[in-house]
Amino acid sequence: MVAVAKPSAPSATHWAVETAELTRRYGTARALNRLDLTIPWDQRLAILGPNGAGKTTLLRIVATLVRPTSGQITVGGLALPGQAAAVRRHIGLVSHQTFLYEELTARENLLFYGRLYRVANPRERADLLLERVGLTERADDRVRTFSRGLQQRLALARAVVHDPSILLLDEPDTGLDVAGLDLLSRLAVDESGRRRTVLLTTHDLQRAIALSDRVVVLANGVVILDRAAERVDTVMLDRAIRGESFAGKETS
């Protein structure tokens, strides 16, 4: 087992993520509108909704990249934006963009991020993750020679280089093949078998149901559907996203 300089986990007595009347405006548009949401530790939550529903904004607020306009949000009991520096140690983010440096090799990219996150043995950690995402043979190739799918695999490895307890996946399936998609569920568990808390946004409804324990549908920055994943199907989700059958919030 590779030693990772992991900070002490946030208090387990708190929710992994808790929001209260969380609002984010861009000009006059409200991306999030007084959003109340609690996410327990170890839960895999799929956040769905049409374009502009507020999915990415929510993930970017949790990732400390965007500040809320009003309302409260805590991540592991740590309030944002005040304790953003402490929160960053516990989150990993996979976004539309890979955050990779194309002129560096796959190993060098992981080594770089490992050093940024102060991982104890970044070389060993990089090698372990390259093996987990099936890139050992391409470890010394520059990222610019990788296909989009391979870059996304490496981006997944980058996101867990510091073994985060909360994983934020913002449409992570971009360019991934079937084996790559399988990685998503495997990386939702750390090396010791402990489940990470996962917040996932995607437009693939089947994948959302398959990868998550709970599904939330957002529309205009508010929750319009909140159910256990086994109690939803793609037809129901599709209708909710189109706004056809759920005039108010439905929770399980």
Binding site: R67, F99, E103
Partner: protein
């Protein structure tokens, strides 16, 4: 080295390695400095009696114009490929990002200046490389890079970043360029160190004040 300085060295290592492989920055800056010197070579008739007043201006125009070209590229890699979010989501002190970028920019500018000086000597048939001049160039370049690194981060967030950067940097850097030109002129005229002291002190004070200021406010520039 796994602490704050480890993060600075990781960021610096990444920039230097990328540049070593692409040579985009140094190649462009060096070529630009060469072209500026070449243009001035045809524009001015440099003689012994006017060298002290003309040469420093030529040198610092070449240095600052080539420098602004490099500064403009320093955050593009992060911005174009979305990697800035990758840095900001990591538990990295924003000041560490600033320091690494500043050191990288300073290094690239000094390398280009080291290339430009012999070119200047060749074009104008006038050798000026002395330890005193090296000190002036270092202090002047450090001040320019300190301010330029901050504004490069700011301009990277704007659409017209290539236009914005010189408009932001040059007004603030007027004192450092004036002091650098004046100190260089004194060095060329063969004055003693005490003759330059006033300008050197001004350069050092500018570097210190703006270096600390930019180091502190960088966080507010890159954070939302």
């Amino acid at each position: 080295m796994n602490g704050w300085l480890g993060q600075v060295s990781a960021l610096l290592w990444k920039d230097l390695l990328t540049e070593l492989r692409t040579r985009e920055l140094l190649g462009g800056m060096a070529l630009f400095a060469f072209l500026v010197l070449l243009t001035f070579n045809f524009a001015f008739d440099l003689r012994i009696d006017n060298v002290g007043s003309v040469a420093p201006g030529i040198l610092w125009v070449a240095f600052s114009f080539a420098g602004i070209l490099g500064l403009g590229r320093s955050f593009v890699q992060e911005k174009d490929r979305g990697a800035m979010d990758g840095l900001l989501v990591a538990p990295v002190d924003r000041a560490a990002i600033y320091l690494a970028k500043f050191l990288g920019n300073l290094f690239f500018m000094l390398v280009v200046e080291a290339i430009a000086l012999p070119v200047f000597t060749m074009f104008f048939n006038f050798g000026i490389a002395t330890p005193a001049l090296a000190l002036v160039i270092f202090l002047g370049t450090a001040g320019f890079a300190a301010v330029g690194t901050l504004f490069a981060a700011m301009a990277a967030n704007t659409r017209a970043r290539d236009v914005m950067l010189p408009l932001l940097v040059f007004p603030i850097c007027v004192p450092v360029i004036i002091a650098s030109v004046a100190a260089t002129s004194l060095v060329i005229d063969g004055g003693t160190l005490t003759n330059h002291l006033g300008w050197l002190e001004m350069l050092a004070a500018f570097d210190l004040i703006f270096g600390i200021l930019c180091f502190v406010v960088f966080e507010f520039v890159v954070e939302e």
